[in-house]
Symmetry: C2
Subunit: 318 residues, 2 copies
């Protein structure tokens, strides 16, 4: 039995992770400021004896240090995950992703915890020249404040491994889909179709190619890697071994909910400044450890649609 500390543990991925860890018999502390996390996501865990909730902010260093003490592993998942509107508030990613990660590392160092798993992003590859993109592809140039702030977090974690003997898994995620998803293109498309079932605005030309991963496959991958690594820092791409276009994904969504809206494209190869035209990660490193995803991107999109259709309150919750 391990004692896990999850920043952002009331969020989409964090709360699913907490459920999994509890089911496996571990102790879990969720640390969340509920800025985007949802109390509903951890409601059923609150009554479990192995579960503890601490309401707190990763920018509150002393609260974090008090809460983190006594754990074996830290999952640092709390983040500003809003890539698209980064330029509207140029300090937010620095604060919530880079400085917050520094605070987590300092809280760990001061309390003697040395094992961390970190949710980074395939966006750190910027505009890759190699597809599928491996972890050791050519040194990339950053194209968004979000990715820059996550890369800075990766660098801090790696330096703590070198300087203080930490052990770390850095996971570079594609976009994650599944139960409790409440942010991203499936969410945006469904919200638009609720407002107008006859037409839908598509950002960009619809030909952007993206890989995705189902949240339960993502969690399995993280736990799989963490059980198998030795000291030092280990970087893993996490994604499905496939990709789809925005148009394909929209077709799966429309088919599932029985609509045939007219598609109006905003045009251009990108949906917004910093959007990627093509995200497809080489997951050889994690698959060689014996992990593979259980469901396809199409199945993950459909599960996400079904979840959002069954939980319409999420469209009001933001």
């Amino acid at each position: 039995m391990n004692r896990y500390f999850i920043t952002g543990g009331a969020g989409f991925i964090g709360s699913n992770l907490a459920d999994r860890l509890l089911a496996l018999g571990h102790c879990v502390t969720v640390y969340d400021n509920f800025s985007t996390g949802q109390r509903w996501f951890i409601e059923s865990s609150l009554s479990q004896p192995n579960f503890r909730l601490v309401e707190g902010d990763t920018l509150d260093a002393s609260s974090l240090e008090r809460a983190i003490e006594g754990h074996d592993w830290v999952f640092h998942l709390a983040a500003n995950a809003d890539v698209r509107f980064g330029t509207d508030h140029p300090s937010r990613d620095l604060q919530q992703n880079t400085i917050a990660t520094h605070n987590v590392l300092e809280a760990m160092r001061k309390t003697g915890i040395k094992q961390i798993a970190f949710s980074s992003t395939g966006s750190v590859y910027g505009e890759p020249t190699v597809f599928p993109t491996p972890e050791d592809c050519p040194f990339p140039v950053q194209t968004s404040l979000y990715a820059a702030s996550k890369l800075a977090g990766e660098g801090l974690i790696s330096a703590y491994c070198a300087g203080f003997g930490f052990k770390a898994c850095i996971f570079r995620f594609v976009s994650i889909l599944g139960e409790r998803y409440s942010h991203g293109h499936v969410f945006d498309f469904l919200r638009k179709l609720k407002a107008d079932p006859a037409r839908i605005e598509v950002l960009g030309n619809g030909k952007q190619r993206k890989s995705y991963l189902y949240v339960q496959d993502c969690i399995s991958a993280m736990l799989h890697a963490m059980e198998r690594i030795d000291a030092g820092v280990h970087v893993f791409n996490l994604g499905a071994p496939e990709y789809c276009t925005v148009d394909q994904s929209l077709s799966w969504i429309c088919e599932r909910i029985g609509l045939q809206p007219r598609r109006d494209y905003s045009g251009g190869e990108r949906g917004w400044i910093g959007d990627s035209r093509f995200i497809y990660l080489d997951t050889t490193r994690i698959t060689q450890l014996g992990w593979k995803p259980q469901i396809s991107i199409r199945q993950a999109v459909i599960k996400t649609v079904d979840y959002l259709q069954a939980n319409p309150w999420l469209f009001e919750a933001r």
Copy 2:
């Protein structure tokens, strides 16, 4: 005539750069908090009509914003450059390198300045697997808080280029030598030999291989690149097309000052945690633009020794 703003402009590289720009007929504003900068280094510039000194800290966002307004180019050179003792104060690099760079970018954005040159470091390559190491070598893993903080600065600058139309030169320096040098292995060796001319402690096994660059060659390279780039972000390695061992460098120093001390090695392949065994950058990118260094590493070491011998007050100034 351009109006240049230099953070850290009273420092080793910054003050030499200010002299060069003034000699070329440009306007120069030096912004420095004199934490490691020296008033002596800018003394002769103070009387020049094209020169302005603003005493201020890059962590003081409002002072920075007031001072930066009205310039064409920003050289962001201010930094905590102490690599070796990073783990003694784990927040310093984040503050003085990453957050300070964010402040510089925000001050620029708010005042409509879009051109920046940044002093990064070859340390961002961590433990490279390719020598000489090109700018697009395999995606590295960070090994020091210093390098992680500089990589974070690079990422921020790149994101401002993508998101706000900035134009940037990011220069990854090897260690710089020459007039006004007051930090690094030549400084440390001379200080030790002043205390005890008969023996010298060498950190590591003396076989660490490092490249260096003469400060005037470094300045020429930066100005050369900045005149030739178009929009967006451009990364350049800056170093000599050669390297030397710590032992060789020590021999040149001892020969110049006429001493033959006994060498006591602290042992190990590294001088300290995070030290690199081998630093040798591929400078094809900048040399293809037409730049090349004027003097060798040996000549640069000798110039540095001569300067420090003529300016013994620097050993008291820290």
